[in-house]
């Protein structure tokens, strides 16, 4: 066994080399985000245009990534799906993040029963697996972007709230906050100048990891057939719709699966990168 004896001072762990993070983290995610934002203007083919005669067509000049079971361009649907899959994932994270930040900070700042209420509530929600939650909500509300967003938001804000509360109460107990309070600064200022900078790296990391997890969750819900309303092109339901033909026309499954993989991988790499820069995130989260 080697002796890992570099430990006298933790320092910063360089888990991912920065170049690596750019190539596998920021670059693919940036491209996907750009595609999601500007894709509809780049598209020459309508993602919902059907040509039953071209159904199951393998990749060709006309269909760069082939056509699906209804003869729709898979490439066009991937581009359209970026907006939906990634959009829901990101918006879901932003909404949970905002809620969690607010409730977490308030419960850390106020303490007492407010904290108890928020924390017990998030305990109960966290005990419910988030995939189950999203499935149930979107099943009951009949699918649709709103239902999935609601499910993601509902199941994810507690994680952010607990993280915020943990970091914030540690930070609020620190001398610099006590000093600021004594000097007469208001909670808003303390949040902005003392607590936010401490939470930010954790939130970035958890946020990025959650975006990745969300892409997977959305695709799983789509796979179970409970996702969005057809014909919306969402990557998971693209897989679900064509899974049957996996062994006969693999391109129909591999293209969206690849998109999910790349997107999740880059979000994971980014999240891991940030959490490696701020050790101890597992303990707090």
């Amino acid at each position: 066994m080697t002796q890992p004896m570099r430990a006298s001072s933790p320092g910063r762990v360089r888990r991912w080399p920065p170049g690596f993070v750019s190539v596998f983290g920021f670059l693919p995610l940036a491209i996907t985000l750009l595609v999601a934002l500007f894709g509809p203007w780049l598209l020459t083919t309508n993602p919902n245009r059907q040509d039953l005669a071209a159904a199951y067509a393998p990749p060709s000049a006309a269909y760069v990534l082939g056509a699906d079971d209804l003869g729709r361009s898979i490439a066009a649907r991937l581009v359209a799906g970026a907006r939906i899959s990634l959009g829901i994932a990101v918006v879901g994270v932003l909404a949970s993040l905002a809620t969690g930040l607010l409730l977490g900070f308030i419960s850390a700042f106020h303490g007492g029963w407010v904290r108890q209420v928020v924390m017990r509530l998030s305990d109960v929600i966290l005990a419910c697996p988030s995939l189950l939650f999203v499935i149930l909500v979107s099943g009951l509300l009949g699918g649709g972007i709103g239902a999935i967003l609601f499910g993601l938001w509902m199941s994810q804000w507690p994680g952010f709230a607990r993280l915020t509360a943990a970091v914030a109460s540690k930070e609020l107990a620190a001398d610099h906050v006590e000093a600021s309070r004594l000097l007469g600064f208001r909670p808003g200022y303390i949040f902005r100048a003392h607590v936010m900078p401490a939470i930010m790296p954790y939130l970035t990391s958890l946020g990025a990891l959650t975006v990745g997890a969300n892409v997977l969750t959305i695709s799983s819900v789509g796979f179970l057939g409970l996702g969005l309303r057809p014909p919306d092109a969402e990557w998971g339901s693209m897989i679900a719709g064509t899974m049957t033909y996996f062994r006969t026309s693999p391109h129909m499954v591999l293209a969206p699966a690849g998109a999910i993989l790349i997107c999740t991988l880059s979000a994971t790499v980014i999240g891991e990168y940030y959490s490696a820069r701020h050790q101890g995130i597992e303990e707090i989260a």
């Binding site: 066994m1 890992p4 888990r15 109960v124 189950l132 099943g139």
Partner: protein
């Protein structure tokens, strides 16, 4: 002695929390069914009659299941039958809920225990092997591989395993739970789905421990390396891993829903979803109850284990 009393309090706290959560989850399932848009009787009728559903069968279902009664009455009826331990009768099959839910739970826990056990075992080995090589090539390779694996949807992992081991090699059954070895592929799928996160937790725990000064100081004091690893550092390293059991069980139950569908297993998560969508209130509440209790139980066990491992953490942190 004081610590034992502390543990006793923790235990009671957990039991109370479990009861609370169980009732909360079951009630939530009840509310969810009631809140869903549309007439519940139609959903029950569809689950019962499938293709043969008609306006008459809907009326029949409504009358047979007591859905024509007041919501409060329905809820109280469930509470009443739950107190007898039967959890009522399914609105779809008419059979008592308990044996069915229990069977699903056994299926799920069979797969879950094997899968989680496998993942735990592998991740401990990987975690120690890789964590001690921190930042070397093996560590980097592991981190990248685990990031990739964690980005693959679990249904694709399952499909890959089925294609290889069931269809191509024909070593194992592709689905169902009536064949010997049926749990192997689902468990492996689950294990592979859990492995990236779990082994990262293990690896980080090892790295964290080794970043502390005391293992180094052990060497300064002249202790041997194995002694430091197993006597000084092992217990602290286990703490974050055991503490991760809570999220782990949630991931497991979530992941199993997909695995159930893929392998045609009648698991408890799938049963919860099916029965909520079918508005089978007693069944949904029964399944929710079992899921809630098992999540809380695992959380409790993990909590108590963490506190036994590291008494520093025993300060009034009841749940989770």
């Amino acid at each position: 002695m004081r610590r034992l009393r502390g543990l006793g309090a923790v235990l009671i706290g957990h039991v109370l929390a479990a009861a609370g959560v169980a009732v909360a989850v079951a009630t939530l399932a009840f509310v969810a069914v009631q809140m869903a848009p549309g007439d519940v009787a139609f959903r029950i009728a569809e689950a019962r009659y499938g293709e043969r559903i008609s306006l008459q069968t809907v009326d029949q279902a409504r009358a047979a299941t007591g859905m024509d009664q007041n919501v409060m009455v329905q809820y109280l009826r469930w509470v009443e039958s739950s107190l007898t331990g039967q959890l009522g009768r399914s609105m779809v099959s008419g059979r008592p809920v308990m044996p069915d839910v229990w069977r699903s739970f056994q299926t799920t826990s069979g797969v879950a225990v094997t899968g989680v056990g496998l993942a735990l075992f592998m991740s401990l080995i990987i975690g120690f092997a890789v964590g001690m090589q921190q930042d070397r090539i093996l560590d980097r390779a592991f981190l990248f591989a685990s990031a990739i694996l964690s980005s693959v949807p679990s249904f694709l992992i399952g499909i890959a395993l089925i294609t290889l081991f069931a269809i191509t090699l024909r070593w194992l059954p592709a689905a169902g739970n009536n064949r010997p070895g049926y749990a192997i592929l689902p468990s492996c799928t689950l294990a592979l789905a859990l492995l990236p996160d779990l082994s990262r937790v293990a690896r980080n725990a090892v790295v964290r421990t080794l970043q502390d000064f005391y293992p180094t100081y052990g060497r300064i004091k002249g202790q041997s390396w194995p002694r430091i690893v197993f006597r000084h550092a092992f217990r602290p390293t286990l703490v974050p891993i055991v503490a991760y059991f809570g999220p782990l069980v949630a991931h497991t139950i979530g992941g199993l829903v997909v695995i159930d569908v893929l392998f045609n297993l009648d698991g408890v998560g799938t049963r919860l979803i099916d029965s909520v969508l079918a508005a089978d209130i007693p069944m949904a509440m029964g399944a929710g109850l079992l899921i809630g209790v098992s999540v809380v139980a695992v959380n409790g066990i993990s909590d108590i284990m963490v506190q036994l491992l590291d008494p520093r953490l025993s300060t009034a942190r009841l749940w989770p």
